[in-house]
Symmetry: C2
């Protein structure tokens, strides 16, 4: 899993101490950018990647491979590169150029692998703030993200309000609910139970492919929706029935999704980011939500929830919206309907709608 080709990397020599303990002697922060930073450095938009995403959100001349949010950045697009300096950094703990379990630990000269510390969304935020410091960006015009990316935008808006004027959160939440943690637990179990995992000390060429595949398949059921699957696939067997193999179309689809994950994820990174999402809690360390919400936050928040989302429910997003509203923050929640469910923000079929929603907010 190399750093995306076109990404730049900021080498930050300062040690980093994650929230839950441990220490990284230095940081690498990979990022890509589009557009030009204005002389006043006030036109930066931070795109916060989701779990499976990274710096390469969009193809470019330097790296023509499709990005994970292809079509969303460029002249006149949702993130207008004629107007904004759009910045997308890979995630701490991931395996796409920013320091993570596949990086070399300067202390040992070996990969961190199973020794990589537990990280949280707050750590991800802190690493990205270091990048902003390096680039001289005091305050973002906006931070935009879906899912894990949305958790990051919310942490930024609530706990680092002076660093971001606008937060656009899609399928985000204030803290991870036990049911959602249970889902991710299953994915981590699938990886940990694979004998090839070897407690995280696997040979990178022979990692826990079966476990990763199953983890991704488990996730896929929650990233999508029953309505989508039931429309898209026939319920009739497409092969002679078998308990071990493929009988139904939906099984081929899931196996395909799982197989893609094997080339995409490092297992230790999968675990690190999965747990980071479970540990997400905007209110951790405060006696009450209001203790931080009444601290003079002037960031504007726009939240988008998807009715069909099986991972982060509309109800919990309404709960967060209510908390922010009661604290008299500038917040709006828009509930949309999409057969895709949680992954709506990533779906090509929803690009136009997402573009309108984002433009309507950040170009204001």
């Amino acid at each position: 899993m190399p750093c995306p080709i076109a990404a730049q990397t900021h080498l930050d020599p300062q040690p980093f101490e994650p929230e839950m303990g441990g220490r990284l002697e230095a940081l690498e922060i990979a990022y890509e950018s589009w557009g030009t930073l204005a002389p006043a450095r006030d036109n930066a938009v931070l795109v916060c990647p989701a779990f499976s995403a990274h710096a390469h959100m969009q193809s470019s001349a330097a790296d023509p491979s499709p990005g994970w949010w292809e079509g969303m950045v460029g002249p006149g697009r949702a993130l207008d590169s004629d107007r904004f300096f759009v910045l997308c950094p890979s995630l701490l703990g991931g395996s796409f150029g920013t320091t993570g379990p596949t990086s070399t630990d300067p202390a040992t000269g070996k990969r961190y692998a199973e020794h990589f510390p537990v990280i949280t969304v707050r750590d991800i935020v802190d690493v990205h703030l270091r990048l902003l410091d390096h680039l001289g960006i005091e305050c973002l015009h906006a931070a935009v993200g879906g899912s894990l990316g949305a958790m990051e935008t919310l942490e930024l808006g609530v706990r680092h309000s002076s660093r971001v004027a606008r937060v656009f959160s899609i399928s985000g939440t204030d803290f991870t609910r036990p049911y959602t943690a249970a889902i991710r637990h299953l994915g981590r179990q699938a990886i940990v139970l694979d004998p090839a995992f070897q407690g995280g000390a696997y040979d990178p060429q022979h990692g826990p492919a079966g476990g990763l595949r199953l983890a991704r398949e488990i996730g896929t059921l929650y990233y999508r929706s029953p309505g989508e699957f039931n429309e898209r696939f026939t319920h009739r067997p497409v092969a002679p029935p078998t308990t071990h193999g493929i009988t139904f179309e939906v099984q081929s689809y899931l196996d395909y999704q799982g197989q893609k994950a094997v080339g995409m994820f490092d297992a230790n990174s999968y675990l690190a980011l999965s747990l980071a999402m479970d540990l997400h809690d905007l209110w951790r360390g405060y006696p009450s939500p209001d203790a931080i919400l009444s601290s003079g936050i002037d960031t504007a928040f726009r939240m988008v929830a998807v009715r069909e989302d099986r991972l982060i429910s509309v109800e919990e997003q309404e709960h967060l919206h209510r908390l922010l509203s009661l604290a008299e923050l500038d917040v709006e929640l828009q509930v949309i309907s999409s057969p895709v469910g949680h992954d709506a923000f990533l779906a090509k079929s929803e690009r136009r709608r997402m573009t309108e929603l984002i433009q309507g907010f950040i170009e204001h």
Copy 2:
């Protein structure tokens, strides 16, 4: 996995040819019963077990271990043994006394194991009809079941209407939707990927425990509901966070549920019954639902759906209700709300309500 102690076993020497092919040279059908069959043989109630259930639905003097539907059968109870002859047979393909992968194949003298044929809910029905034939029961007073048991009651009512006067289906469906099949696919994958599974040819003492555990954990998320988990468990870590082990309360709960399954299920049986549910399709072989629904069915149907059910949605049960209504059958659908979700019919907290619903129907 021995046959429950108190079960009787009917040895049926006739060969059995499953719907999807293959052949069993003979059948064993384990069952327990309560009450007395009336001279007219018209007071029998068949309880159709769910996926993890078996003949032992209720403790007795002969077998005091708690049954899977403890408290539901006995004098004055939901299934009144003073009035009805209540019959509960284990499932074909299971590992509780009725012929399944753990049974000995008379042709080879060895366990069927991975050579057990693919079975369907129709096969399960046909085996139970053989037991009714043996007992001289021409027409059941009622058939009652939840989940897989409900699929069986519906097959009985629609395709063997002359054999059953009343069908009581809880969380049943006319055919398995692709999203639900996708869920079960994950469980089967968890088992198949466990190296101890060995393509089904595992040593019974050293079966795929890890895979079974994970399969059960995956299932548990769908048998219960987000509301229940989010009420019941704290979202805060209960231990120092770790990517490999237990950080949250809900993880301990799931691991406990999974561990229980290891002693409860044979892996090949798990696969056989899981696939049987995915293959469930009341309309298979008919040009349209109406082709069978207009064939003079006079069974009365009562369906109970649970609003919070994540496995079999209310919508699909409404769909079936509509089909039966349009065919002018005697059918009612009652939608209840229970934080438990799909497993409501099994939950102690719902016993009283289930009792009222069942009595209100079958004692009429």
